[in-house]
Amino acid sequence: MGTEPAELRAEIGDLGLRYFRSGSGPTAIKLHHSTGNPGWMPVDEVLAEEFDLIVPDLPGYNQSDRPAWARSVRDIAVLTGHFIEALELEDVVLIGCGLGGWVAAELASMNNHAISHLIVSGAPGLKPNEGLIEDQIMMDWDEYVQLSFSSNEHYEQTYGPDAADVYKELWDYSREMTARLTWKPWMYNRSLEPLLSLVDTSALVVWGSDDRIVPQICGEQYKNALTGSKLEIVEGAGHCVEHEQPEIFRDLISSFVKN
């Protein structure tokens, strides 16, 4: 693989956040799913070819401190805004995958002017007009992560046939934080959709055609709510578009940012 990313730490008040950083080009921040930060993955490698990529552990996940007071994804979005400020970043390409996409959308709804581009991929956060967002609580940790791929083959390409204990522990630990931030209603905030129409940041919505976690209609809802945004469906990909099709994912973002 390419260069090892730097492993760094930032302080937001009394909260410490761990993040990885590598690459050069426009600054991009990629926010992870509700299952935690799996580490520097192939998608991060290819994104780092075009961006100065920052991949933080969201507050409460992995090695970042857990804010016991946080009760909503919006709280995490506020902290992420402070993280951007702490690193003195500008013109940030904010990429959110899954729950990370919901965080990104919440942060964008606050019109944070450090963000130049918003990419929301397979994100919960909006109540689907039809169907339900899959409930990870009522299934095994492995089973949920398998469901977030379009097929078992793709899951195994990323995690192997039997995920290592370190991943299972990560998924268990992450689920604790996820359950602190969202429980009822599950995986959406009623007040986000109306606020998205006020977002003036350029936005791209990316969705796997075979997303079995968040219904594709949510992608359309994001696209309809974010004025001027575009919806790109990645054919054959599941919920974790970025793991299944890292180059396509990167190319979509890259051409969106260039245009």
């Binding site: 609580i137 009522m138 299934m139 095994d140 940790w141 268990d172 359950a179 602190r180 429980w183 009822k184």
Partner: protein, 446 residues
């Protein structure tokens, strides 16, 4: 000594395919209630109530109920209804609720009112107990599991205040907010029914119970780890400034008495047949650890020694935390292993009494609850055992209790009685003194 009687009140359906010796295993939260026959439910509820009335006649001091949700091994989803009925149809026995699942109540004030009514209708015979619940309970009523412990403590504080402090008052808590707390009901017992805390695994809960002077009732846990857990209670009590005694210890376990050894064994085997609690050792059924171990429900590390028992750990989805040396070859205790460990005691009175004695000598609990009439046992099985408890076992156990000086909370007069926290006792004394002074003044004026 306080001796209670308990059954989980299993839903026993001969036609279901999961009942009896050849029944298929249950997997938690896997059955649809389309399979629930309310006519059978009606029969069973009434049968279990009748058995409790008989248990009172046979001399049991207490009739225990428990609460579980969405599962056929326990029909106690709304055990307060059963408690209310017992309040009216029994006369002497305590009604022991172990326990309402506090964190899943969205409105603990409503619970305070229900329990106050039960206490009044029973003439002050309620012993109230509260649990944190397993994952199943939180899922069934969608209570957010990472806040389970906080909700438990806050709901407790709210209920105790609603019972023991005059209203109206406001409550602006972390998890519960009420703008007007002034229920037109108060418990019969002053300042409130005694509070007992049942449990299996959590150190947090034991410490909290000890700090509050609430007796801790270990539920069918293995003897060795139970002794260690009681020692931990004693340490916590000492830190809180008092010496814990037998009145602070309770133990529940399976004891079935029968007319012959052969019949006792055949009937005791029914404990683990049918819709028995799959989350306790020796029972049928399958745990789904991601439900039992809901995210943030219990501490990852602050667990009692009972957590090292594989079945207990599995029941809480914590099997990976059981140390290798504890696991051995036993993936699930068989009937024989259970009886060897005295987790299931069965026999005629002659053989049962010495085994009970061994448990009493080992654990020294002031309150015990015999768990019987469960699994696939039918009404006749339950009644035969109850008769023999009445005629032979209870009198013998009471004698042993006296000999071993196993005092229950009802046998001793502590300054802070077991079942009441120091703050509440103090406030009650102050209120009593004020009322006495008021009466004196009024009498002098008259």
């Amino acid at each position: 000594m306080f001796i209670g009687y308990f059954t989980e009140r299993p839903y026993q359906d001969q036609k279901s395919g999961y009942f009896g010796a050849t029944g298929r295993d249950l997997t938690d939260l896997s059955m649809s209630n389309r399979d629930y026959d309310p006519k059978l439910g009606a029969e069973l509820y009434n049968r279990y109530l009748d058995e409790k009335v008989f248990a009172e006649e046979m001399g049991f001091d207490g009739l225990m109920l428990n609460e579980h949700h969405s599962t056929p091994f326990c029909m106690g989803g709304v055990m307060n209804v059963e408690a209310s009925i017992l309040a009216r149809i029994t006369n002497r026995a305590k009604i022991v609720l172990l326990g309402n699942v506090l964190p899943i109540w969205e409105d603990p004030l409503w619970l305070a009112e229900e329990l106050a009514e039960i206490d009044m209708i029973s003439g002050g015979r309620l012993v109230t107990g509260w649990v944190r619940g397993t994952g199943r309970e939180s899922v069934a009523h969608n209570a957010q599991p990472p806040f389970n412990w906080e909700r438990f403590q806050e709901a407790h504080d709210l209920v105790v205040k609603a019972w023991s402090q005059p209203g109206p008052f406001r409550w602006e808590g972390e998890h519960y907010q009420l703008r007007y707390v002034n229920p037109w009901s108060r418990p019969y017992q002053n300042p409130h029914p005694p509070i007992w805390i049942p449990g299996v695994m959590s150190r947090n809960t034991v410490k909290w119970a000890a700090e509050h002077h609430y007796p801790y009732v270990m539920l069918a846990t293995e003897l060795g780890p139970t002794v260690e857990s009681f020692k931990y209670y004693e340490e916590c009590a000492a830190e809180a400034g008092y010496e814990a005694g037998t009145q602070h210890r309770g133990y529940l376990w399976k004891v079935h008495v029968d007319e012959t050894e052969e019949l006792a064994e055949a009937t005791a085997r029914k404990y683990i047949q049918g819709p028995s609690n799959p989350f306790l050792e020796g029972n049928q059924g399958n745990v789904r650890s991601f439900i039992q171990n809901l995210p943030g429900l219990t501490s990852r590390t602050n667990l009692l020694p009972t957590s090292q028992v594989p079945a207990a750990a599995r029941a809480r989805g914590k099997e990976s935390q059981v140390k290798e040396e504890s696991k051995g070859d036993v993936r699930r205790g068989t009937f024989e292993e259970q009886t060897e460990k005295l987790g299931i005691v069965y026999g005629t009175p002659k053989t049962v009494i010495p085994k009970i004695r061994h448990v009493l000598e080992t654990l020294r609990p002031g309150s015990i609850i015999f768990w019987d009439g469960d699994g696939a046992m039918d009404h006749d099985d339950a009644m035969r055992s109850l008769r023999l408890f009445g005629s032979d076992v209870l009198p013998a156990v009471r004698e042993m209790g006296k000999e071993l000086e196993l005092d229950s909370p009802f046998d001793v007069a502590d300054d802070i009685p077991a079942g009441y926290s120091p703050e509440v006792v103090e406030a009650a004394k102050v209120a009593e003194a004020a009322a006495a002074e008021q009466a004196r003044v009024e009498a002098a004026g008259a």
